[in-house]
């Protein structure tokens, strides 16, 4: 049952000119009403976007609430963010030197977070012209969340890709094959501790190849290229 949130319900652009963006705060409130303690945090950028974080247990219920109560029937995408800073930096380390000290603290982004990996998805309401980004913490010790395949049929492939790239399990998805990589592939490439081999073999900016320019003003040149 879709309850229209604006009384015009038209196809023109909707921005309600209420202070604090009544539209999006209303969405957060409705979701809080539906899920109760499942909604942990939220961030509303007035006139732009809304981020909502739910608990991992409420992940599927949140999907159903979004689809049925908020009316977001259009499934955009689903993926995972790994918040650990990469121990390899940006692939610019000189292989002859010991690796530099890097800050390993994990800082999450909008709508907070407590774990290293967060699952996030985007769904859109095509009638009211808004979208919602919903996030959930994935427990570090047991990285499994409920599958959204019963909520949005299109989540099938997205969950397969997330499983393959990040190693997240999806309870209720009975066909978690690899999407892109061969079956025998070991490891989860998109995790930050999985090295990008191309950059290990040849760090940027290609220390081996760069020759000294005649004239000796290489420092200026290098700054200009970054």
């Amino acid at each position: 049952m879709v309850v229209p949130l604006s009384d015009t319900g038209s196809t023109e652009t909707e921005t309600l000119a209420l202070p604090g963006d009544g539209l999006r705060e209303g969405i957060v409130q409705r979701l809080r009403d539906a899920l109760g303690a499942g909604v942990v945090d939220s961030l509303v950028k007035p006139g732009e976007d809304v981020w909502i974080r739910v608990t991992a247990e409420a992940w599927r219920a949140a999907g159903m609430a979004l689809r049925d109560i908020i009316g977001c029937e259009y499934f955009c995408f689903l993926s995972v963010i790994d918040w650990m800073p990469s121990p390899y930096g940006r692939g610019e380390d000189d292989p002859t030197q010991p690796p530099p000290e890097r800050d390993p603290t994990i800082r999450q982004g909008y709508a907070g977070g407590e774990t290293r990996m967060q699952i996030f998805a985007r769904v859109t309401n095509v009638k009211e012209h808004f979208g919602v980004t919903i996030k959930a913490d994935i427990p570090d010790d047991h990285p499994v969340v409920d599958s959204w395949i019963s909520v949005y049929a299109g989540a099938n492939w997205h969950e397969r890709e997330a499983h393959e790239m990040f190693g997240i399990g999806f309870a209720g998805h009975n066909d978690l094959r690899n999407m892109y990589l061969p079956m025998e592939f070991e490891g989860h490439p998109m995790r930050k501790d999985f090295p990008l081999l191309a950059r290990i073999v040849k760090p940027w900016p290609g220390i081996v190849d760069v020759e000294q320019l005649p004239g000796g003003d290489d420092d200026e040149e290098e700054e200009a290229t970054t």
Partner: protein
């Protein structure tokens, strides 16, 4: 001994005959066929495993990943300006359109807006890449169905558009022209008049395709009623672009969201079709191409003067935050979810490409169709491999 064998054989034959009279289902084995990865009908290396019963598909499963280049991992080791060279190559037929959502997301995080002239030119090049992309689609549609002539007309007329893009940006296929804060350069002299003439030619091309392809009875009988996707299924799978609008859903990201681009400054129409079959999808794309030529004409008339680049620091550091921008690309909805940590480059970029969702519906839509219809449905869904696999 012989008597017994004969009698056994006779009774076996009699039993078979009796079965045939009773029309009992015989246990037949389906044939498993690989369509692809090397195949003239798939736009690249897509492999679809179908199980056939005669000529009917019982079960189909696409197996993507032959072109997976690991873009999302690669963006993490690049700086923001370097990422545009990568993402050009996701949808390589309409490649300017790939850069735009990413640049807009970075600009959103930096709180910069490109000057009006840059916004206009961005929109013009975006629509030109849409025309180039869909022009090829129309030609390809003919080839998939057996009409080998329209594709030559499509390539010939597409050359005009590619020449325009090359004149403006320096690259036919991979322009790499968008910069955070604006564009790399201004338009060359005489480009505007040239573009207007090319738009006239392209409208004639659209009419030609309308006559050659869509008016043809064989074409219609091959496409009408095939591969019907109802609107709610389309929304569940996240189909976008012409595929969604052909199922009757009135959703176009150019009109339905506010972006710092010039679409809301001109007058144009969103085309939908209630049927949701292959013909509807192809028809909507043709109308959109015509509409794109009109958009370009209007934009050229109202092109403001001024700089094409806003004031941005030489070394770009995008402040911490997350941004999601998606645009109505030629293939569908393409978006980038950019997570930045205040560094020189992004922390995580999630690339939402249109063809990934468009092809995820293939197992659902291909049940029970004939083998020739598989080709028609794939042709009408229109995917680019780089878009699926990234």
């Amino acid at each position: 001994m012989t008597d017994l064998a004969d009698r056994q054989k006779l009774s076996y034959i009699a039993a078979q005959a009796a079965d045939a009279r009773l029309n009992v289902e015989l246990e037949t084995e389906g044939m498993t066929l690989n369509i692809g990865p090397q195949h003239p009908a798939t736009h690249g290396t897509l492999r679809i495993i179908v199980r056939l019963d005669g000529e009917q598909v019982v079960w189909a499963e696409p197996s993507a990943g032959y072109m997976h280049r690991g873009y999302e991992k690669l963006t993490e080791v690049r700086t923001f300006p370097q990422v545009t060279t990568l993402i050009n190559r996701i949808d390589w037929l309409g490649s300017f359109a790939n850069e735009v959502p990413f640049i807009l997301a970075a600009e959103k995080l930096m709180d910069i807006e490109a000057p009006p002239r840059a916004q206009w030119i961005r929109t013009i090049l975006f629509e030109l890449s849409r025309i180039a992309n869909v022009g090829l689609f129309l030609g390809d549609l003919g080839v998939q169905l057996g009409a080998i002539t329209p594709v030559f007309f499509a390539f010939r007329d597409r050359e005009y558009v590619l020449n325009l893009i090359e004149a403006a940006t320096g690259g036919r296929f991979h322009p790499n022209f968008d910069r955070i804060g604006g564009l790399k350069d201004d338009l060359p002299a005489g480009w505007i008049t040239e573009t207007k003439q090319v738009m006239k030619k392209l409208r004639m091309f659209c009419d030609e395709m309308d006559d050659l392809l869509f008016g043809n009875e064989i074409f219609q009988s091959r496409l009408r009623g095939i591969g019907v996707i109802p609107a709610d299924v389309a929304k569940q799978y996240g189909l976008s672009g012409a595929n969604l609008r052909a199922s009757g859903v009135d959703w176009d990201l150019r009109r339905d969201q506010t972006l710092p681009m010039a679409w809301d400054k001109v007058d144009w129409k969103v085309w939908t079709h209630p049927d949701g079959d292959c013909f509807a999808r192809c028809w909507v794309r043709l109308q959109e191409t015509r509409e794109a030529t009109k958009i370009v004409d209007q934009l050229l008339d109202t092109l403001p003067s001024g700089p094409v680049m806003a004031k941005v620091p030489r070394i770009i550091k995008v402040p911490e935050g997350e941004a999601w921008v998606s645009t109505e690309n030629p293939l569908g909805e393409m978006g980038y979810y950019v997570v930045s940590k205040g560094d020189l480059g992004p922390f995580r970029v999630k690339i939402r490409s249109a063809s990934f969702n468009n092809i995820s519906i293939v197992p659902w839509v291909l049940r029970g169709v004939y083998v020739p219809d598989v080709i028609s449905i794939l042709a009408s869904l229109y995917f680019i491999l780089g878009d699926i696999d990234r």
